[in-house]
């Protein structure tokens, strides 16, 4: 290995050249970067194998500790206790912070973490810093993730005795395309080439497809499965129709809710009026909050196997908590989180047009799958007496990612174990701003990929010669509820009464999931665009993108607006 183990190779977006010069295809490894834990797996020629670190762990804590010059990540680092991670020197929960602006509620709720998350509430990236020798040293989620991935890469290279380049990463279904670029950037910084980014439940769906095709020789019959995946940071649901090794994703739904939210609301419940303490970041306060966090986390874990738990903890600042908490209380405190989980499942069933009686298997995975309330709520919505067995809740996603890595690397298996295919669907709608401040979807959510859709718009004003195409991703009716992906202007519209020019906007997602937005002007009667068509690869926005929409509005008002027209049949 030419690269030293602990340097970030480059700050560019791409990970160097990517010629497959070797005659043998390199098998891409699967990586599941969880909010709290991370794992790596690879197809070893006959099956998927999880890699272990030097301490023989398959699940590694996702964090990076900054001390002096050398940061060290949770891959090889040994925590003497959980408190070590909570001193302010370690950055964790990268997956909750990456690609989010400082007005995002998820970033806001991260301000109670022991490291510094400073927000100005103006739609720019938050300042994130680790405490090193009594100095808040700034970093970014991408950098932290890159440092972590460099260690992970080194670990895999030592074990597999070959350089690692190609990876399949699992990502939350709710990630915007902007967030995906941040993940790709972190990978590029770690000299890794992203072969595929796979929504977590779809990775689980692929493993399910393999298991089903192994058991079921008659490949004709279709099985519908509901997959519920909830970890520390995110909750995702997918409905998949599987037969003959083909997993067709019918619907996806996801939200940034997870074990971290359960933990935070429990901490607030145990110590009411603790907001000042939680966000203060004084040295003693960090320690107290750390003690509270560890005690609460242990209590929640205990409540998965017991109906009540005794919490007895001294925060070291004069506050002592001595309380018995039972399961009911825990469930009540977190009612909002559980309700959100339930609504994601219902939404997914509705979107997939699937009735609960059509669902053959219900798969519940992820760290939160150990919580009794989670299991019972999924079973009750799906009207099932039991859940699918045969998957390890913490390993299903990474195994699916490794299978995808093998399939996407062009490997085949003599026993047909890799005769697999996932037909992915768009997790969020893609569209543009039109009709005032409305979001007009062009590719609806849960559209099979690759996809190409178009919609015709027209001018909002008489003699309007230019129009702004502002592209968003999301589910909100108003643009500000969605993720801004980019914008560009089309010019040279022939002066004409409003409503006459046809502005055709095509959204195209290719086989590599790259989104391109094409826009051209047509006048009635003509079949060719007036001017060369604009073709823009999205996202184009970079940091501080929260500002852009507002800046555009300030500069142009509604002068370059578009309105929808009824599509001609």
């Amino acid at each position: 290995m030419a690269e030293p183990a602990y340097t970030v190779a480059s700050d560019s977006e791409t990970a160097g050249e990517e010629k497959s010069s070797s005659p043998f295809p390199e098998t891409a490894i699967g990586i599941d970067i969880g909010t709290s834990h991370c794992s790596v797996a690879v197809w070893n020629g006959s099956q998927v194998e999880l890699l272990r670190n030097i301490r023989n762990q398959k699940m590694m804590r996702s964090y990076v500790t900054f001390k002096d010059e050398n940061p060290s990540a949770g891959v090889s680092d040994q925590l003497s206790s959980e408190h070590d991670m909570l001193s302010g020197a370690s950055i964790f929960n990268m997956k909750r912070l990456i690609g989010r602006v400082d007005t995002d509620p998820v970033v806001q709720s991260s301000k109670s973490l022991p490291f510094l998350v400073q927000t100005l509430g103006i739609g720019v990236r938050p300042l994130i810093a680790a405490l090193v020798n009594n100095v808040w040293r700034s970093t970014t989620p991408e950098e932290v993730l890159a440092i972590f991935l460099v260690e992970l890469k080194a670990m895999a290279e030592i074990q597999l005795k070959r350089p690692i380049k190609n990876v399949v990463l699992t990502i939350p279904a709710s990630f915007s395309r902007f967030q995906l670029t941040r993940i790709e950037r972190a990978c590029a910084m770690a000299s890794l080439h992203v072969l595929r980014l796979m929504p977590e439940p779809t990775a689980v769906a692929l493993l399910y497809a393999q298991q089903i095709s192994n058991q079921n020789v008659n490949t004709g019959s279709e099985k519908i499965a509901l997959i519920f995946n909830m970890g520390a940071g995110y909750c995702d649901v997918a409905i998949t129709a599987t037969a003959g090794g083909v997993s067709q994703i019918k619907a996806l739904a996801g939200s940034a809710i997870g074990g971290e939210d359960l933990l935070l609301s429990m901490m607030r419940h145990l110590l009411p009026d603790s907001e000042t303490l939680l966000t203060s970041h004084g040295l003693d306060d960090i320690k107290s909050v750390g003690i509270l966090r560890v005690a609460t986390q242990e209590a929640i874990h205990t409540l998965s196997s017991q109906t009540s738990v005794q919490i007895d903890v001294d925060l070291g600042n004069g506050t002592k908590i001595c309380k018995v908490v039972d399961r009911e209380e825990f469930e009540e405190v977190n009612l909002a989180v559980f309700d959100k989980c339930a609504s994601l499942i219902s939404q997914c069933l509705h979107d997939a047009k699937v009735d609960t009686e059509d669902v053959s298997d219900v798969i519940v995975v992820g760290g939160c799958s150990y919580i009794p309330k989670i299991k019972s709520l999924v079973m009750s919505i799906c009207k099932k007496e039991e859940l699918y067995k045969g998957m390890k809740p913490l390993e299903a996603a990474v195994i699916g990612a490794a299978l995808e890595g093998a399939v996407a690397s062009g490997l085949s298996d003599p026993f047909g174990s890799l005769d697999l295919l996932t037909i992915q669907a768009t997790p969020l709608a893609l569209g543009i701003r039109a009709d005032g401040n409305n979001f007009v979807p062009i590719i609806p959510r849960n559209t099979a990929m690759p996809a190409q859709k178009d919609l015709i718009f027209t001018t909002a004003h008489d003699n309007q010669t230019e129009a702004l195409i502002i592209v968003y991703e999301g589910e909100g009716k108003k643009v500000e509820e969605n993720h801004l992906l980019g914008y560009f202007k089309i010019t040279g519209i022939p002066p004409s009464p409003k409503g006459v020019p046809e502005i055709r906007v095509i959204l195209d997602i290719d086989a590599s999931s790259v989104l391109r937005v094409l826009a051209g002007v047509l006048m009635p009667g003509s079949h060719q665009p007036i001017n060369p068509v604009m073709g823009v690869r999205m996202p184009t926005v970079d940091d501080g993108h929260g500002w852009c929409a507002e800046a555009l509005h300030r500069a142009y008002g509604s002068s370059l607006d578009l309105v929808t027209v009824q599509k001609k049949i």
Binding site: T14, G244, I423, I506, A511
Partner: protein, 117 residues
């Protein structure tokens, strides 16, 4: 062969099925074609063709696997037995669409996360 069907073939022809095919047969045919034509399973230099091919197959499947859409489609097919044009090529600007789509496909297969073209 259905996979090589032109844009003027019926949705049934796209899937290689007779008009009376059952829902089960439609799903099975879709899967079989997907296993062969999906861009994830073809060689690198065929990804572009296979993307268009797969979208056509998926559009046929999406219509025929939905009982309401299929009934409408069957009625139209019966009423005016001229070649059906799928929705993404039906607009009067089909030429522009393909020109526009063509421009989107010209990029190479290099991995890029930013504006590189």
């Amino acid at each position: 062969m259905a996979a090589a069907a032109s844009s003027t073939s019926s949705l049934y022809e796209v899937l290689g099925l007779p008009m009376g095919a059952s829902g089960h047969e439609i799903k099975a045919a879709y899967r079989k074609l997907a296993r062969r034509c999906h861009p994830d399973v073809v060689a690198m230099d065929q990804k572009q063709n296979s993307t268009n091919e797969f979208m056509k197959i998926h559009a046929a499947y999406a219509t025929l696997s939905d009982p309401d859409k299929r009934a409408n489609y069957d009625r139209d097919l019966y009423r005016c037995p001229q070649p059906f044009q799928s929705s993404y090529s039906s607009a009067n600007m089909a030429a522009a669409a393909s020109a526009m789509a063509g421009s989107s496909r010209r990029t190479n297969r290099n991995w890029e996360t930013d504006q590189c073209w």
